[in-house]
Amino acid sequence: MFRKILIANRGEIALRILRACRVLGAEAVVAYSEADRESLAVQLADEAICIGPADAKRSYLSAAAMISAALITGCDAIHPGYGFLSEDESFAEVVAAHGMTFIGPPGAVLERFASKSSTRQLLAAHGLPTIPGSDGMLRDEMHALSEAERIGYPVLIKPSAGGGGKGMRMVRTPRELESVLRVCRSEAKAAFGDDSLYLEKWLDENRHVEIQVVVDRYGHGVHLGERDCSVQRRHQKIIEEAPTPALSEAARTELAELAVAAVVAAGYENVGTLEFLVDAEGRFYFIEINCRIQVEHPVTEMLTGIDMVATQIRIAAGEPLGFSQPDVTFSGHAIEFRINAEDPAHDFRPGAGIVERYHAPGGPGVRVDSHLYSGYDVPPYYDSLLGKVIVWGPDRASAIARSRVALDELVIDGLTTNVSIHQAMLLNETFLEGRMTTNLLDRVGSAAFLAAAARS
């Protein structure tokens, strides 16, 4: 096991990693930017080190600053969390070159899965059904138009280097494709420094179901079931739950077993998530793999009782997994609500400012992962996630009932949050019946959801 781990992230995940380090008996150093001096992770850490200014490019995205901080504080491993440097294979390699361990897949593995299109080819070769898409990257407009014609409209334009829904556009006609292609390229270039784009068939009514896998260095892998992340706003997940209401238990098991077999065969290592689209008929298509711990990992922790961050750290340290598929049992139903500093009444405009009063809900099955405290000044420089309310119940109906109570109890004064959207969702018939599709919130509009909730 590692002696001392640098936490190269911020917000709720920095706190989550700090807790895992303590459970494992490893010391932890929280690396923070100047804007996060008052953050909870910094306050609770045994040791914290300022690595740069608020600008993430010079702090949380600076490989040199992170590695320098880890070296001078005597760390032997770096945990990148999610976002920032978490899937940067060159960062993972430089960490290793400095004699430390990157907590995640090794650089070579990250590199193998770095490109979405070649990952789809690789995992298709290992038995995963993939969604019809363009043959490699789009070379030019002519190539894009002919590929879209072959796949059939509507198609989704996706940046190869992307993540989190950034830079994606759905187009229904060749004319639309022509007009947004250039915009997508420049957006991808600006956001990821890489303007490679590819096309994917767009399924109008689809669900997003992802499989959590854990694979140790010795090729021993298990799946930890699936999560349904179909409640999305502009391709950003806002509610995740497990098990998915979309598939039968047999179908879920089949998908999960297929997924873990494919990644083990393809040489994956550490925790990972395989994202699938599931169409109205229950057919599933592999979309992409996320080579990191995910925001929604607590949903799986609630169902399985497995500490995923601790498991991730143990595997990176070279320990064998220590359990097999039959040891993994799933109990009840869990739902996670992402609490964001966004204003649903104003097009989800992100906000920042002082949390005048904070109260986290409690009670049976209720878990809150958040870095908020009363008096905390939320900086405006980073993403708007304030925390996650995760609610477990023996079945979906009781998880929903507990969720209503928990969200009503949550107090975050001083900031506008998206809690009202969650509360509206918990009154929405489509959600209650487990029939949410990824485009529903955008198609119907969040205002309609809020208004319907206000009437009931």
Binding site: A48, I49, C50, P53, A64, A69, L71, I354, G375
Partner: protein
Amino acid sequence: MSDQPPLETRVVEAAAAQEPIERSAAARSADHAAIAGSIDELLPALIAKLGATGLAELEIREDALRVRLRRPPEGAVPHDRRAGDRARGDRARGAAPSGGGSHGPGLTPVGPGRDGRDGREARGGDGRDHARPDQVRDVATSPAVGIYHPRAEAHAGSRVRSGDRLGSVDVLGVPQEVVAPRDGLIGASLVEPGDAVEYGQELVVIEFASAATEGAAAAGPPPAADH
């Protein structure tokens, strides 16, 4: 610590930029003396004014002289705080309920270093001036996280100009310059050569003398540091 956080005082800009660059040493030292004189008159009044109000920042312009006083949030490194400030109108951070001073001692961020030394203690806890209005000081801070190496020439008592290199912070073999934030005399070093330092950490005190010595020194020997 008093109820009010200490005031940070800095002459942000004290040069008439429109004037020709080529000027005699005498003209320059006259300017310096005039500026120092204004500061002598202005600062005590301004500090009193800022202290009496709940304002976080006060700026005065008089001809070519511009003086800005800022009350740093408690617990912050004052020099770099401006980068972290937000243009959010009238928010008076000092009055906000998030005062860092309300946390218990166990909740203080800890600085870097294998010896486990507290970062704030390393800064001496009194890195800021103790408000003798005629004696002002500033501190050169670290531009990066890494290992600090002072320049051999930059020893205590040397005269430096704003922007002069005092040393460097080594980040994975790449040196990042530590520069003097203002004209003055190199004072105490707050860290040892070879120490691990974090971003924004206070490294070297720059004393800028009282008006009398400033005026006299301006006519004295040239700065020790090269340009």
